[in-house]
Amino acid sequence: MNYFQGTEDYVLSAALRDSVNVSIALGRPLLIKGEPGTGKTLLAHSIARGVGKQLIIWNIKSTTKARDGLYVYDTVQRLNDSRFGDRDVSDIKQYINLGKLGQAFNSPEQVVLLIDEIDKADIEFPNDLLNELDEMSFYIPETSETIKAIHRPIVIITSNSEKELPDPFLRRCVFHYIEFPDESLMEEIVKVHHPDMEKKLLRECLKKFYWLRQFDMLRKKPSTSELIDWIQALIVGGISPKAVENELPFLGALLKKKEDTDLVTGSDKNHYAYNSSSRTSRNVY
C-alpha cells in the first residue's frame, strides 16, 4: 500500500501515512482531526501532489447545505431570464450548476476532494452526505439525470471537532488524529520551511515555543503555522539566538490575544506562574 509516501514539503508520521494509504485503498473518506495548525488542510494538498491528481476544495461554512455540494438549481436566474427570453428557459440543464462534490464525481480523471472543516456546518450536514459518499453518485430530479463518479475520488475531510459528527457518518470514514508534533518532528517540519536556518536559532525558538505552549491558561495556544511565521519574522528581522533566549521578539506572531500576551509577559521566566494567573472577570455580552 504505497500510494502516498509524503512529499518533500510535508513531513508526516508513519501512522498518518498508513491511515492515508488505508483510506485510498479502501476507497473510504479519510477524516482528519487535530489541533488547529497541525496541517490538516495542507495534508490534502500534499496528497494531491504526492499522487499527482487534481485537488478540488470544498470549504464548508455555517450556512453550507449538503445539496450545495452536489448541485444548485438556479431558479431565480431562470425566472429572470424568462423576462427577456435571451436563453431557452425550457432547457433546465443550463441552470443546474454542479457543486464541488458533483465536479469531483464528474471529473474524467480521479481527483482528490478536500471537504474542509466539515464541523462548521449544520449538525445534519454529514448525514445528508452519507449516501452520496457511499455510492459516489446522486440523482438530479429536475433533469432526471444521475451523476455517478467515473473514478471514486480520494476524499479527505477535516474537522476541528466543534461539533460531534454523527455515528453513521463516522462508521464510513477512516479516522486519523494528528497529534501535536514533538520537538524532533517539529524540527524537521521547520527545516522543510526554512532549510537554511541556523541550528542554534532553531533550537532557541523551539525551546521558547514549547515553553509558551505549556501555559494552560492561554486562550489560544500557538500552533505550528504560527511558529513557522514567527521564525520567518525572526530570520527576516535578523534576530540573533541570544535575543530570542533573553526576550521574546515579535511575540505578536505567536500570540493573537491581548490577554495571552499580558499573561506571558507578566509571568516570571521560571514558569512559576502558570494557571494561577489571568482569571477572566469580565462579562462578555
Binding site: D18, S19, N21, V22, A25, K33, T63, V76, N275, R279
Partner: protein, 395 residues
Amino acid sequence: MFINFFFSLKSHGVPVSLHEWLTLHRALAMDLNECSLTKFYHVARAVLVKNEIHFDRFDLAFLDIFKDVETTDEVLEKILEGLKKVKELKLSEEEKRQIEELDLDQVLKNFEQQLREGHFKEHVGGNKAIGTGGRSTQGAWGYNPAGIRIGQGESRHKRAIQIAEKRTFRNYSSNITLDTRQMKVALSHLRSLLPIAPEEKLDLENTIDATCKNAGELEFVWQNREKKASKVILLMDVGGSMTPYSQLVELLFSAASSQISRFKHYYFHNCLYQDLWTDMERSESIPTQEFLKNEDNDYKVILVGDAEMAPSELTWRNGAIDYWYNNDTPGIVWLQRVRDKFKDSIWLNPLPTRSWDYVHTIRLVRDIFPMFELTLEGLDDGVRHLLKSAGKVYV
C-alpha cells in the same frame, strides 16, 4: 484470537460496530498491514476508532490481546544482538543485479530456515547466512534490496506494542477529569447554540406584490432569515468544599469564556440564595430576584458545584453556611426558581457519579436539575442535553 480483539475492544468501551470490523477485515484481506504488527496497529486504529478520546482504550485493548505476540520485529531484534556492524561490502553492478532478482518470499523462507538452524549468532559477512554487511538476504547494512532490513538503530518508528504501551493518548481519554483543551472541545459543542448567520431567501409573496406593482416586470424581494440566538449562563460554586476543584472550575471558566461569546457567569457558595456574586471573592453581588427577572429565559444555564452540603443549607430558612448571611427563602426554592425560569439547565458535579447516591443533598439537587459529571463525557452529555431542547428555542 482475532475475534477476541473485537470483544476486548467492546469490553474496554470502544464503540466498534460490525460495519467497521468488516472494513478492517477487508483491509487485511488487501494486505494493507503488510504483515507488520505496527502497521496493523495503525490500520486497525484508523478503521475502528473514530474519536481520539477512545485511543487510550484502544491501546489497552490492543495490549491485552497482542502483548505476548512475538512479532517478526522482535525476533529480528534478538538476531541483531548477535550481529556486529562491519564495513560495507562493495559489489559489482552484475552482482547487485543478481541479488535484486531474489524475491521477498524466497528471502523470507530462507530467513526462517536460517533462523531454525541457528545461524544467526555472531555472523559477519558471507553470502548466505544472516549477518551484517553481507550479500545475504538478511541482516543490516546489506546490499539486497529485497532483503529484510533489521532495525539499524535509525528507525524512528516504534513497534506497535511499544506504541500502545506508551499510551500517548491517555490524556485524551474521556473519563479522567478535564484539561483546558478537552473542555474547549466539549464546550465548543455549545457553539451550535449560537445564531446561524442570516441567510438570503427569496420572499415569494413580496416578490409577487412588487412584481405586480411594477406592471409585470420582475422585481425580486429578498428576506433575511435570522435565527434566534441563544446564550449561556454559568453559575459556579466557589469556596468551601469546592476549593479542591477550584482549578478545574477555573479551567472550565477560561475555556467557556473563550469558546462562547454570549456568556454570563455568577458565583455562589454551596447553594443559591437571594444574592448572586459577580466575582469569585464574593464581594459584589446582584439580587437573584432581579437576575431571574431580567434575563431572557432562552439562556442555557449550567450550574457547577459539588452539591455537597448540610441538608439545612438547602432546606432551612437562614440555613446558609455563612453565619452573617440570612436568607428568608430556603436555597432549594431558589434552585427551583432558576430551573423554572430557564428552559434548559444542567448541573455539573466534579464528584464522581458513584458517590452521588451517598450524599443526601446531591439527591435533592438531582431532583431539580439533571446532573452530569464534570468529565469530558459528562460535559458532552450535558451539552447534548442542553442542545436537545434547542428545537424549542428556535420554533
